[in-house]
Amino acid sequence: MRHTALGVRLLVLITFAAFFIVPVVWLVLAPTKSDGALVSHSPLSFGSFHQVWLAWKHLDAFSDHIYRRWILNSLFYALTATAITVAVGVPAGYGLALGNFPGRKVILTLTLVAMIMPGAALVLPIFLELDALHLIGSVFSVILPFSFFPFGVYLAYIYYATALPKDLLDASRVDGCSEWQTFQRIALPLAKPVVALVFFFSFVADWNNFFLPLTVLADSKQYPIQVGLSDLLSSTPSFNPAQGGGGQTVNIFRPELALATLLAVVPVAIVFLLSQRSLVRGMLGGAVKQ
């Protein structure tokens, strides 16, 4: 009886693990093979590193090194917007958690509502707004909406409302701090884990946002990587037969596409590793007697 139960459990676990892991493995292995080999060889076979190098050369040659441009665009948009998000969102969360001003509850509720609203739902009104401000097609049309990140405000709010002992703030006030100094010298350094968290989530959200930049940007040289990838996709003969040859120099096939998507994940992974180092536990150890 016990053995059967264990067997069933293992079976379920392995089935699901395989279901989710196989596509990832396939994707990682895809750039090592030629487009033909991708179809004819075993799906989980390894090709050669030389093939990866070839795929990169094809990808990089596409439309005059535009792939690099897309990555740099994405980094620029995401880092700028995330910097604004952190600079605005963390003090905002602090104010909402510990301030005492009229309208606090209303703002908090609005933050929550904005947070649960799907980003895509706002793209049309944001487009109209940006259009009215004549910002469509400029970098601001991406950076400004990206910088609006209520989830970051909420994360900071939760941290300050629950984890930070009020006595610390009172102590700093008695020690001669102005309200701003209290935030800057006590509340902010102690919120390092939350700053890292907000940074990470904001960066990932901005990096992966597809629909908004697609809508507001016209020139493919301005595209962030996510929009670029879809451009790339439509240049791939296997996905878009209309592109299929006709003397064009487009060398983008499935291995190149796989490589492009894999490389697009690398910056996110790096940001994750960097912010994870700041997510140290026990920041507040020894502050107050529990």
Binding site: A171, V174, D175, G176, L190, A287, K289
Partner: protein, 401 residues
């Protein structure tokens, strides 16, 4: 250094609760004033109003000659020690102590001089580079003290600074803080719920109850002459025994009758408390401190009034013996007595109070000599030192004098 004065200071919270009610109190320059009372009596709120961490609803707080009501904490020149210590966890001990000086842009050499001085006084020299989380409770407490003393402020405010330490360390720190305060001579307001701290540390003690000041006096004066039932019951451990008694005239002399016993009121007592005569035929609350009760067999027949009781518990402490015994009298049941019972968590007393059933027996505590031979479950003759009896009005709770 400066005096600190409360003038009719009131704090009403948003929900209408009067945390502090028309507090009038003047703390002299260099004085060590202890604010004491059960939890929720408003003592911490009063302290935080001096610090500027709590808005003052009404009245005036002065530090020196300056009205500080509208000043932010930073412009009040006070230092505070928090119950939780509130050390900055991301800063080293040195930086914690130096923090206020850095904010004030004190020259670096001066900061070093003062921090080193404070560290020497508080024995923190070896710990200056550590972070608070690497310190023991006692060390954290000393860092919190250090943070206050480097400021050289007009006044120290201390909010139950010892309540998180274990008993032994608390006794040590009690003495240390007292000495430090007298060495520095800085005006200090010290909040505690521990009446032993109040008795041992303060030049004067202010007892609060439900936001109202009950009495301000030097510790011994307060112990000897409590202004009302509440102060009498709160100051002193074990607490004062409170009994219902009736002032009657027997054979031409006034007595306080409790149960089947009667304590004659001699001329000395009546001289000190002339108003007692007016209570003839009325009920009062009679307060007897445990040390004024003695095993009659040790008191060798000195003609003192006696009570007969049955021993419930005897606690031999070596130098003395605490004896709980039942006598045929009624426990006084006023609001004050109930609140005191609540404060110490005396459920049995509370139950009687709520149900209104007062048994005709009251349990008293006596502080007997160590050679007392009382046995649990047997009767005991107890003699009363009537010079130290306390008499309170049962209605107002005020001392009858």
């Amino acid at each position: 250094m400066a005096r600190v004065a409360f003038e009719r200071v009131t704090k009403i919270y948003g929900d209408g609760i009067r945390a502090v009610d028309e507090l009038d109190l003047e703390v002299a320059d260099g004085e060590f004033m202890v604010l004491v009372g059960p939890s929720g009596c408003g003592k911490t709120t009063a302290l935080r109003m001096v610090a500027g961490l709590e808005e003052i609803t009404d009245g005036i707080v002065r530090i020196g000659d300056k009205v500080v009501n509208e000043l932010t904490p930073k412009s009040r020149d006070i230092a505070m020690v928090f119950q939780s210590y509130a050390l900055y966890p991301h800063l080293s001990v040195y930086d914690n102590i130096a923090f206020a000086l850095k904010i004030k842009r004190t020259p670096k050499t001066e900061i070093e001089r003062r921090v080193d001085g404070a560290a020497r006084i508080l024995d923190l020299e070896a710990l200056l580079k550590r972070k608070p989380r690497a310190l023991s409770g006692g060390q954290r407490q000393r860092v919190a003290m250090g943070r206050a003393i480097v400021r050289e402020p007009a006044a120290f405010l201390m909010d139950e600074p010892l309540s998180n330490l274990d008993a032994k360390l608390r006794v040590q720190m009690r003495a240390d803080i007292k000495k430090l305060q007298s060495d520095l001579g800085v005006t200090t307001i010290y909040v505690t719920h521990d009446q032993v701290e109040a008795m041992t540390m303060g030049h004067r003690v202010a007892v609060m109850r439900k936001g109202k000041l009950q009495q301000v006096a030097a510790p011994q004066e307060m112990y000897d002459n409590p202004a009302n039932v509440f102060v009498g019951g709160f100051i002193g451990s074990p607490a004062m025994n409170m009994l219902e008694a009736r002032i009657e005239r027997r054979d031409g002399n006034l007595v306080a009758a409790l149960g089947d016993a009667a304590v004659p009121l001699d001329d000395e007592t009546l001289d000190r408390r002339p108003a007692l005569v007016g209570y003839e035929g009325r009920d009062i609350v009679l307060g007897i401190r445990p040390e004024d009760l003695e095993d009659a067999s040790l008191a060798n027949g000195d003609g003192r009034p006696r009570l007969t009781g049955r021993v419930e518990i005897r606690e031999a402490l070596g130098s003395e013996m605490l004896v709980h015994f039942e006598v045929a009298a009624r426990q006084a049941m006023t609001d004050e007595v109930r609140e005191l019972a609540e404060d110490v968590g005396d459920d049995r007393m509370l139950e009687q109070y709520v149900s209104g059933t007062q048994p005709a027996v009251a349990t008293l505590v006596g502080r007997f000599g160590p050679r007392s031979r009382v046995v649990e479950g047997e009767t005991v003759e107890v003699s009363i030192d009537r010079r130290a009896l306390h008499f309170f009005d049962s209605g107002t709770g005020l001392s009858i004098a």
